[in-house]
């Protein structure tokens, strides 16, 4: 597959200096990096809020803050993590940087629109920041009538989320068109890297689901500002209607978060096992299947909200159907490891941790899908644990894995492997220490979003807080290690991991136009480890 290695001195895409050259750039790689900087900053801020909450929750009673402050932190942690970090997370950063190169293109289909998406993202970020003067206390779910009556800045936060939604829609459209129209000659659908399939599926959800939450947030603002009754019963509205609207977007959105992570895993496993990905078509189509089914499961968030029992049973059944393609993916990843030669480098460590944690995240989804059991577990810490196992254990860990995996390509530098691998254990152990106690708390009946709790829950909360700080140290040093490598890291070769996808066949860091000559594709990118003769045959 190696076609496009430089013949004469290339100009790196990082060559031009100055903030303006970055902000005015339409290069997908530079836009990817801008997203990387902003989303990771949001991650750090949201993470600090989580640590403040865990400090307060370490012991029963109120120690460092009043309940209102806690509620605000809880709201900001959720909103910042969801709207500013996880949703744009892998899609906008690595989707932007890697996807065009992986399909053999010089850029996305609409580069100027791509820059505009980022500007819209910045506008959303700015609007949310404006609201911090009197931050909202509604939780990231904005349920009315609480959200239409509280005296905090709900409007700025919802408008910010609304604007961010546009950024998400535009990026989604851009990627869908890019995958359809910009593939290099010979890059058939079944030769696409699985990361591309995953981003493509996530983009579909972004384009279809985001408008719905946009509309409902605008209706909420209209209710607050003009007193139009959409959701507040006193004005003639229906509060449960908002929940339907909200979750019609916000359940699919968890698949916007997790599908790209699954895509990254599917890239890293074959490279570091030196084996072809197992069940390529099953993984590719299960992404699409998950995207499709994700639209018809939303009401499992409403099992105890006055939803009819019959509707609840139907949604319980539909929810179980998501588990099947998810399980298929896990089995395929395991089969990829079978008889491989597994190299435990940092990206691989995180990928294996992802599988380990995602199995727990998936299994703990089962009692929540069982409607009669969910009645007990709904809105308890069990749900908090389940959610963090899938989204933090899933998406955030794969964001870190992707950072390490593509770091040499993006920056042209190698990070310090020893530090990264050592800090991995802080993250892995800290993570489990934080969230396993939360499952037990939830089973015991501890409700979520509580600033204070009964004394019998104290020991488990203390363990969870200790875990959270271990995790915090892990993430912080991991990111610091990457930043240090920008100055001190060794120069990265073009293909340090001996990977087959196209981004590794060009320089590290890539040139402005990625390829000197658009490559012609003759095989899928997962032919690892087999004999030389066979490789020739398949080419």
């Amino acid at each position: 597959m190696a076609h496009a290695v430089a013949e004469h001195a290339p100009v790196s895409y990082l060559e031009k200096k100055g903030i303006l050259s970055w902000l005015s750039s339409v290069d997908h790689k530079r836009i990817g990096i801008l997203y990387l900087i902003t989303t990771m900053s949001a991650f750090l801020v949201g993470g600090v809020f989580a640590l403040l909450m865990r400090a307060e929750l370490a012991r029963p009673g109120m120690q460092f803050m009043d309940p209102q402050t806690y509620n605000v932190l809880m709201t900001l942690h959720g909103s910042i993590m969801i709207f500013l970090f996880i949703v744009p997370g892998i899609v906008a950063t690595f989707g932007n940087f890697v996807l065009p190169i992986q399909i053999g293109a010089r850029d996305v289909a609409f580069p100027v629109l791509n820059r505009f998406s980022f500007q819209v993202y910045l506008a959303g970020l700015f609007i949310i920041a404006l609201g911090l003067a009197n931050p909202a206390d509604t939780g990231w779910t904005f349920y009315p009538p609480y959200s239409s009556t509280t005296d905090t800045n709900v409007i700025t936060l919802t408008l910010g989320a609304f604007v961010l939604g546009f950024s998400s829609i535009l990026t989604g459209i851009n990627f869908i068109v890019t995958v359809h129209k910009m593939r290099a000659p010979g890059m058939t659908w079944y030769r696409l890297p699985l990361f591309v399939w995953a981003i493509y599926s996530a983009s579909l959800i972004q384009v279809i689901a985001t408008p719905v939450v946009g509309i409902s947030l605008i209706l909420l603002v209209a209710e607050r500002v003009f007193g139009v009754g959409f959701f507040t019963p006193a004005l003639g509205g229906d509060p449960v209607l908002f929940q339907h609207f909200f979750w019609f977007y916000s359940h699919p959105v968890v698949y916007i978060m997790i599908l790209p992570a699954m895509g990254v895993v599917s890239e890293i496993l074959p490279v570091f096992s030196r084996k072809p990905i197992f069940g390529y078509k099953a993984i590719a189509w299960s992404s699409v299947a998950i995207a499709a089914v994700s639209f018809v499961v939303w009401a499992h968030h409403l099992f105890v909200s006055s939803l009819s029992t019959t509707a609840g049973i139907v949604f319980s059944f539909l929810t179980f159907t998501v588990a099947v393609p998810t399980a298929i993916k896990v089995f395929n990843w395991l089969a990829t490891l079978y008889k491989g030669q597994i190299e435990l480098k940092t990206p691989m460590l995180y990928s294996l941790a992802f599988i380990f944690l995602f199995i727990i995240g998936g299994l703990t989804g089962l009692p929540l899908a069982m409607i009669g059991v969910d009645v007990h577990l709904h809105d308890t810490y069990f749900v908090v644990g389940h959610f963090h196992y899938t989204i933090q254990g899933g998406t955030v860990l794969m964001m870190i894995a992707a950072l390490h995996y593509w770091w040499p390509k993006i920056t042209g530098r190698m990070y310090n492997e020893k530090v990264a691998a050592f800090m991995f254990w802080f993250v892995f152990i800290g993570f489990n220490l934080t969230f396993i106690p939360q499952f037990i708390l939830g089973i015991g009946g501890m409700p979520r979003r509580y600033a204070d709790y009964l004394p019998e829950f104290a020991p488990l909360h203390l363990i969870s807080s200790i875990g959270a700080y271990t995790l915090g140290i892990g993430y912080f040093v991991t990111i610091l290690n990457l930043l240090i490598s920008l100055k001190k890291g060794e120069k990265a070769p073009a293909n340090p991991w001996r990977a087959n996808t196209l981004e590794w066949q060009i320089e590290s860091p890539p040139t402005e136009h990625n390829f000197h000559e658009i490559p012609t594709i003759t095989s899928w990118p997962y032919d690892y480890g087999q004999k030389e003769e066979r490789k020739k045959e398949s080419l």
């Binding site: 030196r274 105890v304 909200s305 079978y338 899908a369 969910d374 809105d379």
Partner: protein
């Protein structure tokens, strides 16, 4: 409260439906733990077995891309297991929502940040047509600083939601303001209290004792303090308590309509201001909450949303408590729900507000 149950496993199983839910719960737990051991076992085994050891040369790995038989098996087997789990979840919800015909209906009204319980046990004065029923609410402790679970746990003589053991109870759940959710872990029941809707849940308590009640839908500042306890009593003891309460109400019935002196009214109004949750939205230090502050409001000129001006007097205050949407003060949302208060209570509240003139 800390000795009620250790928060390690499921709370005590104290209702007739709890064993059905618990069976489904333990079934999914056992299946999940087995699946966890098998799948994580395979993962760990593969990683250990096939890892590249130090200084190990590159090894030929087999070119395995798919295996249709295997893939069909690992699609169908989990699907069948999931069907079984779905079925037992269905069985559990059928039990939880199978409302018995012969149950006593108790009204529960959630409001920031406590639960009101209205029993159907009443005394009536035939002559005047006045009626009083047994009711009570979990308390709104320390409303200025915010109350938490810790304070609640320490609280002496707090209100207990008393119910008899072995009798079917249906709770008809409403909300005064925002969405709340009534959760009694020991009974495995939970149902949202949605303003504008009447929802319900039922249970039959099977164990004596005190069990926590929580609010599980985030509802603002003191969400974590919106909690209380249910007390399951022997039916005989429950009847005795009920009769004693009814006797007290009969006494109270006699005093209705009697003229009370201002000091008594103010004291009663002061109590009601927190007991009825007025303080959730109205400050007394000139601080703006959801609604306008109420200190010094009596006798003040207020501008209404439609531009008209009026002086705050008894009539205006009474109207604003009973029909909050009638006149809205300029600059505030039309958010206040009609209050569930008796005429006597309105009078006491107005007297309290009058006393805050300076």
């Amino acid at each position: 409260m800390s000795d009620i149950y250790p928060a390690l496993v499921l709370p005590p199983s104290a209702s007739s439906s709890a064993p059905v839910v618990d069976f489904a719960f333990w079934l999914v737990m056992i299946i999940s733990i087995l699946a966890f051991l098998v799948v994580e076992g395979v993962l760990i085994y593969f990683v250990v077995r096939y890892r590249r050891r130090k200084n190990e040369a590159e090894r030929e790995t087999p070119h395995l891309t798919h295996n249709t038989t295997l893939e069909i098996i690992w699609t169908i087997v989990p699907s069948l297991i999931l069907l079984v789990l779905f079925y037992y979840g269905y069985v559990a919800i059928k039990e939880l929502r199978n409302f018995p015909q012969d149950s006593e209906v108790i009204r529960v009204v959630g409001q920031k940040w406590f639960w009101n319980f209205y029993y159907p046990y009443c005394v009536e004065d035939q002559a005047s047509g006045k009626k009083l029923c047994i009711s009570g609410n979990t308390e709104n402790i320390n409303p200025e600083k915010g109350s938490g679970q810790t304070q609640l746990a320490k609280q002496e003589n707090q209100f207990l939601f008393r119910i008899p053991k072995g009798r079917n109870i249906t709770l008809q759940i409403e909300s005064q303001d925002v969405i709340h959710s009534l959760y009694i872990p020991a009974f495995r029941v939970k149902q949202d209290a949605v303003p504008g809707l009447k929802t319900r849940l039922w249970f039959q308590a099977t164990e004596l004792g005190e069990f926590p009640i929580f609010c599980t839908e985030y509802c603002g500042k003191d969400h974590a303090g919106m909690a209380g306890k249910v007390l399951v009593m022997e039916p005989v003891a429950f009847e005795q308590w009920k009769e004693a309460e009814l006797a007290k109400l009969r006494e109270k019935l006699k005093t209705i309509g009697q003229v009370k002196d201002e000091a008594t009214l103010i004291a009663e109004g002061t109590r009601l201001f927190t007991a009825k949750g007025c303080n959730a939205c109205h400050g007394l230090q000139g601080n703006r909450l959801v609604g306008p502050p109420l200190n010094g409001i009596y006798g003040k000129q207020e501008e209404m949303q439609d531009g008209s001006k009026l002086t705050v007097d008894d009539a205006y205050l009474k109207e604003s408590i009973l029909k909050p949407m009638a006149k809205i003060v300029k600059g505030y949302p039309p958010a206040m729900p009609p209050q569930n208060v008796t005429e006597d209570e309105v009078e006491a509240l107005v007297a309290f507000l009058r006393s805050l003139k300076n």
